[in-house]
């Protein structure tokens, strides 16, 4: 069970991450160098990249947590793992929506359409976000029990297969979504200042999402404790 110091850590990380995200946005809008006017239809919109890429990175961390939590619940029946599943699915939903939304804003400006149904990267990431929607909404509408936990944990476990598919999608099928700009094995296509803002964004989103998951895990633990206490009181009444 998470102890109060874990809550403090969670909230400290939330504040640090949020401050970092705010700073990233300021730097992205006011300081990061502009891209070549010839290379993009909408060079100003390219700045959304400093939000979009770190949000997608945070989504992968959240879906990783969902996978570990789901496996831990299915194979070990660990309450800690179940709390990680809950935290991972909520964080995955939020960061997934942030990524999809920012991508749609950029797509509308750059491509003239917010979504391309033929692009593999877009669709696999969209499916991942829909999976998180299903797990979060489904869990909130069902009474908590072993059977419902098993069902949602199975979705979290098998749905994770979409993460590597999404990651490699632009390396195999470059349809509309731009190819990778970092971790390409080559020099990459962003300069030092751009890389610095992107790194700040990635670190901030990582800190923020870890803070969120710690806080969310504590929240689930508190809900379980409250439910047990209420049952105890009702039973004793």
């Amino acid at each position: 069970m998470l102890t109060p110091p874990a809550m403090k850590w969670g909230e400290v990380l939330l504040v640090l991450g949020f401050t970092g995200i705010g700073s990233t946005l300021l730097l992205a809008l006011l300081w990061a160098p502009s891209v070549s006017l010839d290379a993009f239809e909408s060079p100003a919109a390219q700045r959304i990249f400093y939000w979009h890429v770190p949000a997608a990175w945070a989504a992968f961390i959240a879906f990783g947590a969902l996978f570990i939590g789901s496996a831990g619940w299915l194979f070990r029946r660990s309450e800690w793992a179940w709390r990680l599943h809950v935290a991972g699915s909520e964080a995955g939903l939020a960061t997934g929506l942030m990524t999809v939304w920012s991508g749609c804003v950029w797509g509308a400006a750059e491509w003239g359409t917010p979504w391309d149904w033929t692009d593999v990267r877009l669709n696999t990431f969209g499916l991942l976000t829909l999976l998180a929607v299903y797990v979060v909404l489904g869990r909130n509408s069902q009474p908590d029990g072993v059977e419902s936990r098993d069902t949602f944990a199975a979705f979290g476990l098998y749905g994770f297969v979409l993460v590597p598919v999404t990651y490699i999608a632009t390396r195999i099928w470059t349809i509309r979504h731009p190819g990778p700009v970092v971790a390409t094995g080559e020099e990459g296509s962003i300069n030092g200042d751009m890389g610095m803002v992107l790194l700040l964004g990635a670190v901030s989103f990582t800190v923020f999402i870890i803070g969120h998951m710690l806080t969310s895990m504590r929240l689930t633990a508190l809900e379980q404790r409250l439910s047990n206490l209420q049952r105890h009181h009702d039973g004793g009444a």
Binding site: L25, L29, W51, S102, T215, L222, L226, L229
Partner: protein
Amino acid sequence: MTYLAVAYLGMLVAIALWTWTVVQRSRRLDQRLHALEGVGGVDRQPQKSEDEAEHKP
């Protein structure tokens, strides 16, 4: 640039609201737990008082 700033600020406000909701839920649950534990204490309190009352002359 204006629509970009609006989109950025919208997302920032959205994650601030999300964070605020989670932290507030956590604090409310803490309070409810304390209250329930307090009720437990109150439940025990009359028992103690009754016990004490029995020993009073």
